[in-house]
């Protein structure tokens, strides 16, 4: 960056100097940069040096030239004089300058922050990818009978092979998969993200190792002798302190030791943007999943990334790959044989669409642009007013021989300087907004540079330049339009006769844009409200789902010993349930296979009497196997009958509990209790229905109602994978106001603080509870390597995020816009009244009362507000259909929101007019007529 800065600097220096010293300077700057640690202080020094040098150097050259008797005019001179003049002018009006700078700081800062995020997500993509426009991910689209068309990026090794051998569009092909794995052992164990890749992955992307080397084809064979791993830069730093000695050391992943052979450069995240801690050969992992991994078509754990040959389009590549797939496919499914392969750039998500982050970003960018537009309208307005006051000054300059161009230039320099002051102050805004957005909204992305970096600063400067021109051009042209000496001759009396239609229009635009943002805010707030008010049929806040990772069974020799261990593990949670319940802070605990917002299971089911289970749009019925205490633990109400007890287990009478929806759908008009379900094979014995439970949402907040039934844990056949669920006691509903989690909550959903129940008593209590459970379980079972714990709420939260996000962003920017618009109305009204002092004086002299005057002023401002509201609401109504899919059970034309926003804006307009109106009322008619 520093070198680039000096390159830029050189371009600004006189040519003689550049030719004599340029190369040397770069060399020195580079050496200096390499030698010293970066620090904000040093960066500031370098930047000020870079700014000062051309100015000071030119001054010196000029002085030399004068001494030498030369009078050659340096072209920069008049420019610099204008800059100095403009600076002096701005310094004389500190309040005006500060106000403009702060307003623009918000607008420019927000946009620079958005640029910083877009830069990584859209413009630059994953770091260290060479010629990224040719690097693509591969997708598969098919339509199985009776189902919707769907697109996936999951493949088996066969597709990788066929693309390498049967397709011609690709230069290189590689696979990768990213999974959580437990690293380390015992107390050190922690979950890390591992990337499983083929050896060709790194050369394909074009990344170079920062340490050691990447793995070879040979090390990536299923039965490779050595297990090798490449660390991410941050893992290398935190696990081995960044030491070169990391090479040859071992890391434990899962059950196995891997030898570290290299380290990736900082910020390398592969083909996606999420964090990856360690890279290991992928085929080793594939071989672990199934023995026929290399030949099966029924596998989808790999993602494929490819580099296109130069000149190959995405369409050509897709056709080529589809052809190769159809020639090679030997699986039996007709719809897969007819499936289509396609490619998309790295910005796409797993379904080949824009990633959620990209969609979020698009919204944010629009909102930020709106805020900047509002700020621009406001400042243009102020500059127009100011231009009017300076009418005479401009006229004098013109009379003294300054060309119009020269005066316009001076005024533009002024507005650009203001914009740069705004951009400078905006750095703080960028830092705050960028940091917040990264933490709250773009959590899955590995950020490697600060929210304010060189590129963001350059973007900021570009925004400032554009903003300065945008807000300055019109007022500058306006105020220089009056030709000749008219303006000199007459006083402002004549100059102020005509109201500035332009200024009124700008104020109306501000009001309309604010209305737009506020309606967005209102709609999202209502959506979020509706989401939070949704009765999920469970109480997800305090329910922790606990899972244990264990060492592999493969370590135990095949035989009765392994079977015994398998059986022990299967019933481990059930066996420990009583001890878990006895822990302090545990209100209830249960074991479940299949949880809301977790795994979803469905097995064959027949019902003897109607002999067919009706199909519902939502699918299902789904099944869970749950232990005694389940309903109490997750907070699902039991409507009739009984819950499972400890006596319902493997080997006892098969029983079932059905959801209300299932009871009503399968046995309409009849009592479900006592009925018979044939679960699994569909043969007797029946599972007798002993209870009816309330409906629950199963996996999405927006889902069609789905039938569900429960069978006792231990009686499940054909599905498995149990989890321990624990309901924490409600110890402290009081969120510590300064705890991290509550701050995070506040940022996201502060309007609902009064409504929202705490996610979990408190993070500390939860941590303590998890620690207790962890201690208990690892104490009872030494094969456990890692315990994961998560609330059900945490699993739901990503689904709520779009609304939280929309509400927060729109609300904050809407309020901001409202303030700016309020100030806009205030300033326009103030100037109008100042202009019309004489008129007001005349009116008062003719007998108008103070109330008349106030009414007059108020009418003006309310008219502006009403027109702004009308325009804003019409536009909002028209744009509504784009917002509709983003809202939750809220009409995009919700009358309450529209009315509320109108009322709010009117109130702000009234408030903004209050002071100017009072000032108008106190005009002394005699004085007003006498002056001028």
């Amino acid at each position: 960056m520093i070198e680039r800065l000096y390159r830029l600097l050189l371009a600004l220096l006189p040519r003689d100097f550049r030719e004599r010293f340029g190369a040397e300077m770069l060399d020195t700057a580079r050496a200096l940069d390499a030698d010293r640690p970066r620090s904000p202080r040093r960066t500031a020094r370098v930047i000020s040096d870079a700014i000062l040098t051309p100015i000071a150097l030119r001054a010196e050259l000029r002085a030399d030239a004068r001494l030498a008797g030369q009078t050659r005019k340096v072209p920069m001179e008049s420019f610099l004089r204008d800059v100095r003049f403009a600076l002096r002018g701005l310094r004389r009006e500190p309040a005006f300058t500060a106000f403009v700078a702060i307003t623009l700081a918000l607008g420019i800062g927000a946009n620079a922050a958005m640029f910083g995020i877009a830069d990584r997500l859209l413009l630059r993509g994953p770091a260290h990818v060479r010629e990224a426009d040719r690097v693509v991910r591969v997708y598969f689209t098919e339509q199985p009978p009776g189902m919707r068309v769907f697109t996936t990026s999951g493949f088996g090794h066969v597709t990788y092979d066929l693309l390498r051998q049967g397709a011609t569009a690709f230069e290189q092909v590689a696979t990768y998969a990213i999974n959580d794995v437990v690293a380390g052992q015992g107390a050190d164990a922690r979950q890390v993200r591992a990337g499983y890749t083929t050896a060709g992955f790194f050369p394909l992307l074009g990344v170079q190792p920062a340490l050691g080397r990447f793995f070879t084809e040979h090390e990536d064979t299923a039965n490779a002798a050595a297990r090798v791993a490449v660390l991410s830069h941050s893992a290398w730093m935190s696990w081995f302190g960044g030491s070169q000695d990391a090479i040859g050391r071992t890391v434990t992943l899962g059950d196995e030791s891997y030898e570290v052979i290299g380290g990736a450069p900082p910020g390398f995240t592969g083909a996606e943007l999420g964090r990856v801690d360690v890279w290991v050969p992928g085929n080793v992992k594939s071989a672990r999943i199934t023995s026929n991994w290399a030949t099966t078509w029924n596998a989808q754990w790999l993602k494929i990334v490819a580099r296109l040959k130069p000149g190959v389009t995405f369409e050509q590549a897709g056709l080529d790959a589809t052809g190769a797939h159809r020639r090679a496919y030997t699986g039996g499914d007709a719809w897969t044989a007819e499936g289509r392969l396609s490619v998309a750039s790295l910005g796409a998500n797993d379904a080949g669409n824009d990633a959620t982050e990209v969609r979020v970003l698009r919204w944010l960018t629009w909102v930020a642009a709106l805020v900047l537009l509002i700020a621009c309208a406001n400042i243009a307005n102020l500059l127009l007013a100011r231009g009017k006051r300076r009418h005479r000054e401009v006229a004098i300059r013109a009379a003294l021989g300054a060309s119009r161009l020269r005066i316009v230039r001076l005024l533009l320099i002024e507005s650009i300087l203001l914009a740069f002051a705004g951009a400078a102050a905006g750095v703080v805004v960028t830092y705050a907004i960028g940091g917040l957005a990264r933490q709250a909204l773009f959590t899955s992305i590995e950020w490697t540079s600060s929210p304010v970096n060189a590129r963001v600063l350059m973007a900021s400067a570009a925004f400032a330049l554009a903003t300065g021109l945008l807000v300055g051009l019109l007022p500058a042209l306006r105020s220089t339009r009056t030709a000749g000496t008219d303006a000199l001759r007459t006083g402002p009396r004549e100059g102020g006769g005509r109201r500035s239609a332009l200024r009124t229009a700008l104020t109306i635009v501000q009001a309309a844009l604010s209305v737009l943002l506020l309606i967005g805010a209102g709609l999202f707030v209502r959506s979020l409200w509706n989401v939070r008010a949704l009765d999920l049929g469970i109480d997800p806040d305090r329910v922790m789902v606990i899972g244990a990772a264990r060492s592999s069974l493969a370590r135990i020799p095949d035989g009765p010993e392994r079977e015994a261990e398998r059986a022990r593990r299967r019933t481990f949670y059930l066996d420990t349930l009583d001890r878990v319940r006895a822990l302090p802070g545990v209100e209830a605990a249960a074991v479940a296979v299949g949880l809301p917002f977790g795994d979803r299971f469905s097995v064959e089911l027949r019902v003897p009497a109607p002999d067919a289970v009706p199909r519902l749009k939502g699918g299902g019925p789904g099944v869970s196997a749950v232990s005694a205490g389940y309903f109490e633990t997750v907070g699902t109400r039991l409507l009739r009958g009984r819950a499972f007890t400890a006596e319902d287990r493997a080997g006892t009478e098969p029983v079932a509990i059905v959801s209300d929806l299932m009871a009503k759908t399968v046995w309409p008009g009849a009592e479900a209790l006592g009925k018979c379900l044939l679960v699994g094979s569909g043969t007797p014995p029946c599972a007798r229905v002993v209870g009816v439970a309330a409906n629950t949402y199963r996996s999405r907040l927006r889902e069609d109602p789905v039938m569900h039934y429960y069978i006792p844990a231990g009686q499940e056949v054909g599905f498995g994978g149990s989890a321990l669920i624990v309901r924490g006691a409600d110890r402290s509903p009081n969120l510590g106001p300064f705890s991290r989690s509550s701050v995070r909550q506040l940022v996201g959903i502060w309007p609902y603080v009064s409504r929202s129940s705490p996610v979990f008593p408190d993070e500390d209590v939860r941590t303590a509870l998890v620690a207790d459970v962890r201690r208990l379980l690892t104490g009872l079972d030494t094969t456990i390597s890692y315990i994961s714990a998560e609330t059900i709420q945490a699993r739901i939260e990503p689904q709520v995020r779009p609304w939280t996000l929309g509400a927060t962003v729109f609300l904050l920017s809407g309020l901001l816009a409202l303030i700016v618009a309020g100030i806009g109305i205030y300033s326009v009204m103030s100037y109008l009244i100042a202009d019309r002092r004489r008129e007001i004086g005349v009116r008062m002299a003719l007998g108008a009362t103070a109330a008349d005057i106030v009414r007059l002023v108020l009418r003006g401002s309310l008219l502006m507000a009403v027109v702004g509201i009308a325009i804003g609401e019409v536009v909002a109504a028209l744009l509504g259909r784009f917002a509709e899919p983003l809202l939750f059970e809220t009409s995009p034309r919700d009358p309450a929101v529209f009315a509320g926003v109108a009322g709010l804006l009117l109130a702000v307009a009234m408030a903004a007019t209050f002071i100017p109106a009072r000032r108008a009322r106190s005009v002394n008619p005699v004085e007003a007529l006498r002056t001028e």
């Binding site: 010293f21 060399d27 000020s48 040096d49 150097l57």
Partner: protein, 121 residues
């Protein structure tokens, strides 16, 4: 007739120029070497930035207080781009004049501090 430059015309030296001359008086240096030397010599108080350094070097070259010289045999780097500088005779004379001026200044200040009337310098 060209008047021979008088060292007294160049004093007082600017701070950066003084330190650069001091550094070069010890041994020929290239740009980056000067920065390091000045940093050490001023005990970290003066950290020259690139632009400021070359501005001053241009000034010194133009005033013929320093000149470019051959790379010293013991140079640490054999980078072609690195140019080395040394003071001219005039430069050394100016440096001496400046140091002399400062010494007198310090003496005067000390006398004042001791309560005696300073001699005019």
């Amino acid at each position: 007739m060209v008047r021979r430059p008088d060292p007294a015309d160049f004093v007082p030296l600017k701070r950066d120029a003084l330190f650069i001359l001091l550094a070069l008086a010890a041994r020929p240096l290239h740009g980056y070497g000067i920065i390091r030397d000045v940093d050490a010599r001023s005990e970290g108080e003066i950290v020259l930035q690139t632009g400021a350094l070359y501005r001053t070097l241009r000034r010194l070259l133009q005033d013929q207080l320093i000149e470019e010289c051959a790379r010293p045999a013991a140079a640490e780097s054999d980078d072609e781009r690195r140019r080395y500088y040394q003071p001219t005779l005039l430069g050394r004379a100016v440096l001496a004049a400046e140091v002399n001026r400062m010494a007198r200044l310090v003496r005067a200040a000390r006398l004042t501090a001791d309560g005696k009337r300073p001699r005019l310098v």
